[in-house]
Symmetry: C2
Subunit: 153 residues, 2 copies
DNA sequence: GCGATATTGAAACTCATTTTCACTTAGTTC
DNA sequence: GAACTAAGTGAAAATGAGTTTCAATATCGC
């Protein structure tokens, strides 16, 4: 009986609507996965999601989690990201566009928006004759906590 | 009997030196792969490299190409990149740092340097308490040729 | 040349993700 | 509410990039 929050509820409703529109079926599995995803902290991997979902319903299969996250991505509720490690990570697609700063030591992910960079990316693409459609920008470094921790050792 | 160029020759010599230093062996396979890589156009995949190498020596195995590219990367002669499609692509690591602008239609890859963006990335990381170690930035769009071609159709 | 050590190619294996398929369900129709 | 049917499910097999294993082969220092 997780406490419900407005964003998760809205997302859930949107998902249900999407299913109806596409004549797809509402199932207990999909509900469980989507609910857990929407209430979670973001940047979650399929494996993590699978682990969480299994606690509620241990019979759900890996393939269903993959299929459901694909659905969520298609309907615009989730964004799929790929950082430096192969597996996909998903976040709720509510927010404005943002990029990521990732700690190479502890894996912490910090989000940021920097309009001046976005503007320069536009300018750069135009200068080279391109019509810009999207970009991928990840900054990698060491966070304050990890630098402190390093010093103490 | 490919025409030799200075950069490729220098790279080749550096590779040979590296092998000697590490007490690794010089083999015909390594020579063939490295030579073809160094003379190539850059942003090459293992598959493409393998195809080219096979024309010279059809008995070379995939694993050897992978192993050799790993060696080249370790010794600082090649840079491994990962664009939007899974497989690794390699380029000669001679040049200054640069980022990439990629056409979503034809796959063309254009390199660019933009110090103003680099500076803002530094600034952003610092503002968030990080010591910046690296970044990944790729711009995706449609190139001039493809836009023209699109109009004609 | 000898011998220790590294390298090779083929095939087996990983890891994340997708596909297949027999079976079970949800949503509709009477 | 039973019957129908298209969609969904889980398990297992398949995929694709890349790595590892291993027996056979080649290189390098003497
Ligand atoms: Mn994010
Ligand atoms: Mn490049
Ligand atoms: Zn950290
Ligand atoms: Zn193009």
């Amino acid at each position: 009986m997780a406490k419900s929050n407005r964003l998760a509820d809205e997302g859930f409703a949107r998902f249900k609507t999407y299913l109806r529109e596409q004549r797809l079926k509402s199932t207990a599995q999909r509900d469980a996965i989507v609910e857990i995803f929407l209430k979670g902290a973001g940047h979650v991997s399929v494996e993590e999601l699978y682990g969480a979902v299994r606690k509620q319903n241990p019979r759900i299969g890996y393939a269903t989690v993959y299929r459901t996250m694909k659905l969520l991505t298609e309907c615009g509720l989730a964004d799929e990201r790929h950082f430096r490690n192969g597996e996909a990570r998903y976040e709720i697609a509510e927010k404005d566009h943002h990029d990521h700063l990732i700690c190479e030591r502890c894996g912490k992910i910090v989000e940021f928006e920097e309009d001046r960079i976005e503007a320069l990316q536009e300018e750069t693409a135009r200068r080279l004759g391109f019509e810009l459609r999207g970009h991928k920008m990840e900054l990698y470094g060491v966070c304050l906590d990890c630098r402190r921790r390093g010093r103490e050792n």
